[in-house]
């Protein structure tokens, strides 16, 4: 019953008929995303990275973008980005399929649409 599980619990049964049974608009965008300016900047990325590494920050990394607190210096941010990229490249090395090149060769699709 994949996918059917949550149906009865969330959409159906006793919750029907009560106000906004899905609560979609309320839960979907977890507050901060809508209506706030997002500064897509180096500082944000660095700050996000800090939060990601702290246990509290891990669950709500998005919040960092709405902060207006201290802004790290450019070169410090640059260092952090470098470190982040290094972590990422380590991960790519880890997860890149062992037979990646063979997989790419055998990956043939029919056209669609």
């Amino acid at each position: 019953m994949a996918g059917a599980g949550p149906l009865g619990r969330i959409c159906g049964g006793s919750t029907l008929g009560t106000p906004a049974p899905l609560g979609l608009q309320k839960v979907a965008w977890n507050g901060r995303q809508v209506g706030e300016t997002v500064r897509i900047r180096i500082e944000d990325m660095a700050e996000r990275e800090l939060k990601r590494k702290s246990p509290e920050g891990a669950a709500r990394t998005e919040e960092s973008t709405s902060d207006t607190g201290a802004v790290p210096a450019q070169n410090e941010a640059g260092e952090k980005i470098k470190a982040e990229l290094d972590d990422l490249l380590d991960e790519i090395d880890e997860v890149l399929e062992e037979n990646a090149e063979e997989f790419v060769r055998s990956y043939v699709q029919k056209g669609g649409e």
Binding site: V34, M45, I92, G111
Partner: protein, 494 residues
């Protein structure tokens, strides 16, 4: 006057099975069946489908049946989506959404459903050739498959005006909507591209047309509104990439919805944002990762793609000041969209690499370039294509996208809800809730009707020709209070 920009996305996923020689149609069926086997589901109803109708006023291939194989797996889900095998791909069509942010949520819910399907299918057939599924648009060997957007438009807006005025947006939006691609698949003469902004751009050969699989046009003329044809048209957009980035999807859908509203309002009349050679420009923009090369306009100007985006942004900003964000269904999301559009253009102008945690093509480019430097590789190294492909793998154990810690707009809990429940803001609500509440009695469904089987007597068809009717506001109490499906039909007066 612009009308509400109800929107949806259809995504064809790439599918691969490790047994060589396996039929992709079988693989796609296996994937989808693994998911829907346990669901009480309704069949898709093809009766009203007319993909051969051309918005320019004629019917292609009149007398021949539409290109749909009705024997393949085809289900409508409780969240209002359609999940089916199309050609040789699993395809997910989101339910109709009223705002671009809601559509981001349902696009991600669609991904999650495919992800669950994959886990189930591979657990059912361990060792027999595992499936892998990619949310991408080409196999790197010249075969492309689509990610189509759909926007509700006012029938009174002349199609020629839409086609003429939207093209510059389709060509230039790829600076933030592109999913990125290592190399090229279609030789166009000149220097070979190492990296392109868009997966799809190089497959487009025409400015306008009905085709989707060959001689692909930038503006597709399919005239199949899935709604009252006297009031509505549905602009079927085939020129976009499938995005994993939530921000890219949000911008793709939101900016396009706004540009279409500007066209309906006549606000782009005389703006002069018309390209001299749109197809060539699309190819050129995709290959210019420096975002510096200009394209020629009909009035003789030469502008960078970002200049054209800035002009469109200013029109949209002015429209928003006049109350235009109403068409996006959610004013807060509309305001956020404008701010993101502006800041995205500003950062792209300054240094695109700052968007490596935001946009797909930048994320992919950063990963590929970093990998090249670390291992001393050149652009021809096949490992780079492997990184490109694996970026799109939807299996969380393999996906590179999920490792890039991209900015998110919707949280996982909301996505889990959207896997099962329809959006409250369109007729998808009625479709999804009827399937949830009366799964045994829904004989079939499609975008603009539901057919009920009451057990005895004739089947009862409930038309839903207005996408804005059948919302939670209209039907929540009705469905909640109905004691049985017969009672529901009676209350509907159907």
């Amino acid at each position: 006057m612009a009308i509400a920009k109800i929107c949806g996305i259809e995504t064809e996923y790439g599918i691969h099975r490790s047994n060589p020689g396996d039929n992709p149609v079988t693989s796609a069926s296996l994937l989808i069946n693994a998911y829907i086997a346990g669901l009480k589901r309704a069949q898709w109803d093809f009766q009203d489908e007319t993909p051969g109708n051309d918005a320019r006023g004629f019917v292609a291939g009149a007398g021949t049946p539409p290109e749909i194989d009705v024997h393949l797996v085809n289900a409508v889900l409780s969240n209002g989506a359609r999940y089916y095998v199309d050609h040789a791909h699993p395809e997910m069509s989101t339910p109709e959404c009223a705002s671009p942010l809601e559509l981001v949520l349902y696009d991600k819910a669609g991904e999650e459903i495919v992800r669950r399907s994959l886990a189930l299918a591979n657990s059912y057939y361990p060792g027999e050739g595992q499936l892998s599924v990619h949310k991408n648009n080409s196999d790197g060997k010249g075969n492309s498959y689509g990610c189509h957007e759909n926007y509700l438009m006012d029938r009174n807006t002349p199609f020629a005006r839409i086609a003429q005025q939207v093209t510059a947006h389709f060509v230039t939006r790829i600076i933030y909507t592109g999913a990125g691609k290592v190399g090229e698949e279609v030789r166009s003469g000149g220097e070979a591209a190492n990296f392109q902004l868009s997966q799809r751009a190089e497959f487009f050969e025409e400015e306008i047309g009905l085709e989707t699989t060959l001689k692909r046009p930038i503006v597709n003329t399919r005239d199949e509104p899935h709604a009252d044809p006297r009031r509505f048209r549905r602009l079927h957009v085939i020129v976009g990439d499938a995005n994993l980035s939530e921000v890219a999807t949000f911008l793709k859908v939101g900016t396009t919805a706004l540009v279409l509203a500007l066209i309906e309002e006549g606000r782009l009349d005389g703006a002069g944002l018309l390209l001299e050679n749109p197809v060539q420009a699309l190819h050129q923009v995709s290959r210019d990762i420096g975002l510096a090369r200009t394209v020629e306009l009909v009035d003789g100007r030469y502008l960078r793609p970002i200049d054209i985006q800035w002009e469109l942004y200013r029109f949209a900003r002015e429209y928003a000041d006049d109350g235009g964000l109403e068409v996006l269904g959610d004013e807060d999301a509309g305001k956020d969209l404008l701010r993101r559009w502006e800041s995205c253009l500003a950062v792209l102008e300054e240094d695109p690499m700052q968007l490596a945690n935001v946009l797909d093509w930048v994320a992919k480019l950063q990963a590929v370039e970093g990998y090249m430097q670390r291992h001393g590789l050149d652009w021809q190294d096949p490992k780079l294509k492997a990184i490109d492909l694996q970026y799109h793998d939807i299996d969380p154990a393999k996906s590179l996208y999920t490792r890039l810690r991209m900015e998110r707009l919707v949280d996982s809990e909301a996505v889990a809800v959207a896997v099962a429940c329809p959006p409250a803001s369109t007729r998808a609500y009625f479709r999804g809730m009827c399937l949830t509440r009366f799964p045994e009695n829904v004989a079939s469904a499609n975008w603009d009707s539901i057919v009920f089987d009451l057990g005895e007597g004739p089947l009862r068809k409930v038309p839903m020709t207005d996408p804005l009717k059948g919302t939670a506001l209209h039907t929540e109490n009705l469905i909640g209070q109905a004691s049985s499906v017969e009672d529901l039909i009676e209350r509907l007066g159907a």
